[in-house]
Amino acid sequence: MPRTPITLVLNGTERSLFVESGENLLDALRRGIGDLSPKYGCAQGTCGTCSVQVDGRLQLACITLAETLSGRSITTAGGLAEGNELHPLQRSFMENFAAQCGYCTPGMLMAAKSLLDRNPHPRRQEVVEAISGNLCRCTGYEPIIDAILKAAEVMRRRTR
């Protein structure tokens, strides 16, 4: 199997690795680099639990061709916290019981971050739309939506 060397920036740190021809970004992150925060779900772009940001835009790692990403910047849920300080979204998910089994949580966090990056004042329906590509089979979604709206409030207070 031909392998291609790529260098990308993962959560602010430059990383170099070999990827196999046709390999997806999710495998490259989990097996190649060891970032286990994006989860393996459907491998067909349906469940959203592998959601990451590529150059600041939300993408699904399982259907992103890894060898196309040389020089690109990848952000995963594993890169949200700053040291021991959780990201407001992570803290809000904890405080508002937005995770039960937790398998969807990394993807939900990245979908929510992508929303709040461009829209700090989302309406409830905009949150629903933002996470519409992410499946959760535990919570019924309402606690997740509440958590994202409360995190947005916290983030707005911090930037005042």
């Binding site: 772009g45 959601s51 993408q59 259907i63 196309t68």
Partner: protein, 267 residues
């Protein structure tokens, strides 16, 4: 074993296509096949030419680069009428990846955007330099070795484009069926109507009998009646995991009636 060949120019990419190759747009469907080892190709051909992603206005017509994503469409002011169609494709992550060109090759139940392009009578520009219509492309897309470079459309008259997607999962799910209609009016009567369905055959299909029945009629309950009676003539729904052909035949006229009469769905 798969090889991936990436070219910086369209000419090089086009010359790199052979009978074992598949051109990759956003990869949202091709990568699924790769992940599950069910791809029918040995080579993936990509092109990074930024021209392929531009959306531009050419003398009143809008030319959408084949590599423009659904998000690009949503963010483009000239394409406001197509934004609801692009927004119906997947969730936000998929829309950042899925391309307009890729949607032309998406098998049912995907292909809602291609259905809109069929209703809009889009012209498809190919790497061979030729231009083709949507119906011709859809009927030969499995055998195409030429690369789609851009889609050329005339914007519909303001407020005369309508789209509705029927899905079981809310807010996002694949189409049981979707309908697009361009409904120009002349002197209070329909003139130059085009109606296209997705999910009612193996590719998006026009409904010429319904179009003919709408021609010259007012857009009201009485005017659309004959079209609802003949709309199924041109549709070929099949049973699949989303719905039976019977269900699709039963609801298609209902959704067409709603689409035609509900003004809130017009762009």
């Amino acid at each position: 074993m798969i090889t991936v060949d990436t070219y910086s120019s369209l000419d090089e990419a086009a010359s790199g296509m052979d009978s074992h190759s598949c051109f990759m747009g956003g990869g949202t469907l091709i990568m699924r096949d790769l992940n599950y080892g069910r791809q029918a190709f040995r080579r993936l051909v990509r092109c990074t030419d930024p021209q392929l992603r531009t959306i531009r206005n050419e003398r009143g017509r809008i030319v959408i680069g084949a590599a423009a994503t659904m998000s690009d469409v949503i963010e483009n002011r000239d394409l406001e009428f197509l934004a609801p169609v692009a927004a119906a494709v997947g969730g936000p992550a998929i829309r950042n990846m899925a391309t307009v060109g890729g949607n032309l090759f998406a098998p049912a139940p995907f292909g809602d955007f291609a259905t809109a392009l069929l209703a809009l009578d889009a012209r498809i520009r190919m790497s061979s330099g030729q231009e083709t219509g949507m119906a011709a492309l859809l009927s030969s897309r499995q055998d195409s070795r030429s690369i789609v470079t851009a889609i050329d459309i005339a914007p519909p008259p303001r407020g005369r484009f309508r789209f509705h997607k029927v899905s079981r999962v809310k807010p996002k799910g694949v189409s049981v069926l979707s309908i697009c209609a361009v409904l120009p009016m002349n002197g209070g009567r329909l003139s130059g109507v085009r109606v296209a369905f997705n999910g009612m055959g193996s590719t998006p299909l026009r409904a010429p009998a319904a179009e003919a029945a709408l021609e010259g009629k007012p857009l009201d309950r009485n005017g659309i009646g004959p079209a609802l009676e003949v709309v199924l003539q041109d549709l070929q729904p099949v049973d699949d995991e989303l719905a039976t052909a019977w269900y699709r035949r039963t609801v298609a006229p209902v959704y067409l009636r709603r689409l035609l009469l509900e003004r809130s769905r017009a762009w």
